[in-house]
């Protein structure tokens, strides 16, 4: 078996999710090559070559891949991947965008968002917002799979010394052009891989009040997330949404503040190790999954939390 892992990166650094996907590839077994497609992405290729368990790093460095347009990546990966038994990518917005194109071009099914590897052709994945867990078997010759990064412990990012090989395959489908990007800037850890996440919901009432959560988060080195209701109401940007259709997180500690605990929200955070809920409604469903529940008005509890944390941290 030979597995092609598509690296997730921003042209300058390798995203940790790639290491989680390599871990999923190791669980399948076989030679693991990593494809880094981007523009001026040499540093990413070097980082990928150091990852544990990687056999070879293939680099497709071209302006056509600079913005990770699905049309171009789809053609590239279908071409490079056709000699492999498995093609894997993280189930982030880049992987979700181009991988189904790869599957369609190769005329194979895709298995989305796997949480476990049962064997080379059998995978476990959530359906119905995680309310059911399906074990599915693929009968295709090439398995196109997206991986839920939080479900696999990352391989080491140092110590490996894979060979790096340049590819000169340029696939510009000419169907789409990049226009602009508005990226959220934050000094906090990445939401999807943070060890602690503090999330706010509709109960926060407005965007200004999220500052309270940010202060608490900064004391703990945490990321800040949100429910859909908080994003829809415009309190915070979309990249902070946790849930079925937002980001999947599984930190050591998840603190839900003013979030009711709808199934679509739980789908994104119920694999967290320890869950804390702060909500003034003691009937809120979030308490059914919380390890520690505090029935309180968040506008009193959050400032107190900041004070108490200052004492112990």
């Amino acid at each position: 078996m030979s597995i092609l892992v598509i690296a997730e990166h921003d042209n300058s650094s390798l995203k940790q999710a790639t290491l989680n996907v390599v871990a999923a590839a190791k669980a399948i077994g076989g030679d693991i090559d990593v494809l880094v497609a981007g523009e001026n992405c040499g540093a990413v290729a070097e980082a990928a070559a150091k990852a544990e368990g990687v056999n070879k790093v293939l680099v497709a460095d071209n302006a056509a891949y600079g913005h990770f347009l699905g049309e171009n990546l789809g053609e590239l990966v279908a071409e490079v991947g056709k000699g492999y038994s498995h093609i894997l990518a993280a189930a982030g917005t880049v992987g979700k965008d181009f991988m189904p194109r790869v599957a369609a071009l190769l005329d194979v099914a895709q298995v989305s968002d796997i949480m476990r590897v049962e064997s080379e052709d059998t995978f476990v994945r959530p359906i119905y917002a995680g309310n059911a867990i399906a074990t599915v078997k693929s009968s295709d010759s090439i398995k196109v799979v997206t991986v839920r990064p939080t479900a696999f412990d990352p391989v080491a990012g140092e110590g490996g010394s894979a060979a790096v090989e340049q590819l000169d395959v340029v696939k510009d489908a000419g169907l789409s052009q990049f226009v602009s990007e508005e990226l959220a800037k934050s000094d906090r850890p990445d939401l999807a891989s943070a060890g602690i996440v503090v999330s706010g919901g509709r109960g926060m009432q407005n965007g200004d009040n999220f500052k309270m959560l940010e202060q608490v988060a900064d004391l703990m080195g945490a990321a800040v997330g949100a429910s859909r209701a908080a994003v829809d109401a415009g309190f915070v940007p979309n990249d902070m949404q946790v849930g079925q259709t937002g980001k999947i997180v599984a930190p050591q500690l998840y603190i839900a503040v003013g979030i009711s605990g709808a199934i679509q929200h739980l789908a994104g955070m119920s694999d967290s190790k320890v869950i804390v809920a702060i909500n003034k409604d003691e009937e809120a469903p979030i308490f059914q999954v919380a390890d520690y529940g505090l029935v309180a008005d968040l506008f009193e509890a959050v400032p107190q939390l900041e004070e108490e944390l200052k004492k112990v941290l």
Partner: protein
């Protein structure tokens, strides 16, 4: 320009999903079914394009059992002009759905195809992208804004780091995210009118598509359930527990 919208009949998003005791799937007997929420957003976007004078005709297509006609009628009541029902009682997976939709696209030749980014049953997030690849179209996935300008469509996409705008040549495929719009409700007179709108029925065989699934589901289980923990009296107790019991801070 003609807009094609694909809609799927799924379990209503408010229904508590139950896994069947024999682990073969999810219990769908006597549960409320509805249009997939992302498909509602797709229909709404098409209707808004028509209201702006950008779209001239909206064709809605659904693949599924006879009862999927209800969702097509809903879309017609919301403002679509005519429906196509690709009727089958078999399970249709994403790749096969994309092939069926490709056959419909070849017949209808729409300038824009709008789909939901995922259906809330299989949560696959594949069909729109597969359709785009099979038809050689560009794709604007996870859209939060769609602006048609001449022979291009600008799509603002919700991505992990924020927002990204791409320009696609028409014809193109767009898949909707939650914040693209807020769908309206159908009015009673429009529900009545929808009953008279044309609805074509065809089978996968009529479209010449083999829908045999490539993935087989070996079993479906309930997720490991989390137990509710304890209620703490105050913030001091909470911090104490996090530090000394759970040891996570």
């Amino acid at each position: 320009m003609k807009v094609l919208v694909a809609v799927k009949r799924v379990i209503d998003y408010n229904v508590k999903v139950r896994v069947k005791p024999d682990n073969t799937g999810v219990d769908l007997a006597n549960v409320k079914m509805a249009m997939n929420p992302f498909c509602e957003i797709a229909v709404e976007e098409a209707v808004r394009l028509k209201e702006k004078g950008v779209a001239s005709e909206i064709v809605v297509v659904s693949i599924g059992p006879k009862a999927s006609q209800e969702q097509i009628r809903t879309a017609l009541a919301l403002g679509a002009d005519r429906g196509i029902h690709v009727e089958t009682d078999e399970e249709v997976q994403s790749l096969e759905a994309a092939k069926l939709l490709k056959a419909v696209v070849e017949k209808e030749e729409p300038k824009l195809v709008i789909l939901g980014k995922q259906s809330i049953d299989s949560d696959n997030n594949q069909t729109g992208q597969m359709l785009a690849a099979l038809t050689g179209m560009g794709q604007g996935t996870f859209a939060s804004e769609v602006v048609v300008e001449g022979d291009k469509v600008n799509v603002t996409r919700e991505i992990d780091g924020g927002l990204m705008t791409v320009a696609l040549n028409l014809p193109a495929v767009v898949t909707t995210d939650l914040r693209l719009n807020e769908p309206r409700y159908a009015s009673l007179p429009n529900i009545m009118k929808a009953k008279k709108k044309p609805l074509d029925n065809m089978s996968p065989a009529d479209l010449g598509v083999d829908i045999a699934p490539r993935l087989s589901t070996l079993k479906v289980e309930a997720p490991a359930s989390r137990q509710a923990g304890v209620k703490v009296a105050d913030v001091a107790e909470l911090v104490d527990k996090l530090k000394n019991e759970a040891k996570v801070i």
